[in-house]
């Protein structure tokens, strides 16, 4: 299930609903992995004097139709690769403040390793494929966040060796 929304989400309530859905489907889930991304206090880019730059807010722009499509594709791909019984991706857009929720990824499986790997996979792909752009707002004005090479490397792990990682699952 995917949702792209301006509103905040309640992790506890989402988790509870997902577990109930999975149990109603007769899935034998044992482990649920949740990733919550929140707005940081400090910019990932250095400030004008090289130190961390305190943020006052962040604006997330996205490409509505494509976002839905990309998230649905990524989720379907994860469920083909791992024995996932239930999953949820929520990504917010609009104006957010430090500490606010940005993204939620939940994966549930009978096998904890599958839940962990599918979750990491989804988060890596969200960072590199989902059409969202962060603009940070701090004392020096507004700055578009630059994409990180490390995020590309993380996402590439799954291209190179999905099968090897998967075979380590219990």
């Amino acid at each position: 299930m995917i949702r792209v929304q301006k509103e905040d989400f309640d992790v506890g309530a989402e988790l509870k609903a997902l577990i109930e859905r999975a149990r109603a489907d007769g899935a034998g889930i044992g482990g649920i992995v949740t990733f919550t991304g929140v707005v940081r206090e400090f910019s990932s880019e250095a400030g004008y004097r090289g130190g961390p730059r305190q943020l006052t807010a962040m604006t997330l722009e996205h490409y509505p139709g494509m976002t839905q499509r990309q998230l649905a594709d990524i989720e379907a791909d994860a469920r083909k690769r791992w024995p996932i019984d239930a999953s949820l991706i929520i990504h917010r857009y609009g104006r957010l403040e430090p500490g606010d929720n940005i993204v939620l990824v939940i994966t549930a499986s009978a096998h904890r390793q599958a839940a962990f790997e599918a979750n990491e996979f989804l988060v890596d792909w969200l960072k590199t494929k989902a059409p969202f752009w962060k603009q940070e707002c701090g004392p020096g004005g507004e700055t578009w966040v630059a994409a990180k090479a490390s995020d590309d490397q993380m996402a590439e792990r799954w291209i190179r060796k999905p099968a090897a990682k998967r075979s380590a699952a219990e």
């Binding site: 990504h91 989902a130 962060k134």
Partner: protein
């Protein structure tokens, strides 16, 4: 052809989107980018460094070789930073 722009590409072009009719020989993503850049102004500014430009055709990522036509929606944007 419908064009849409996001993030700093939108800011540099100076609009969120527009409908354009490129010349008949502009049939690929790569040719479209070259033609747009040649329009100068905000386009030239936005497309100065093509390594920082990503393209989606009808909401799917597309490389420079992908074919495009009058009914397509072509989006130009910087590398994504969500998640």
């Amino acid at each position: 052809m419908k064009l849409v722009y996001f993030a700093w590409l939108r800011e540099r072009v100076g609009k969120a989107g527009e409908t354009l009719t490129p010349p008949n020989d502009v049939t690929t993503v790569g040719a479209l980018l070259d033609w747009l850049k040649a329009q100068g102004g905000g386009y030239a500014e936005a497309l100065k460094d093509l390594s920082a430009v990503r393209v989606a055709v009808n909401q799917e990522y597309a490389g420079p070789e992908v074919q495009i036509g009058p009914n397509d929606e072509v989006a130009l944007f910087p590398p994504v930073t969500g998640g």
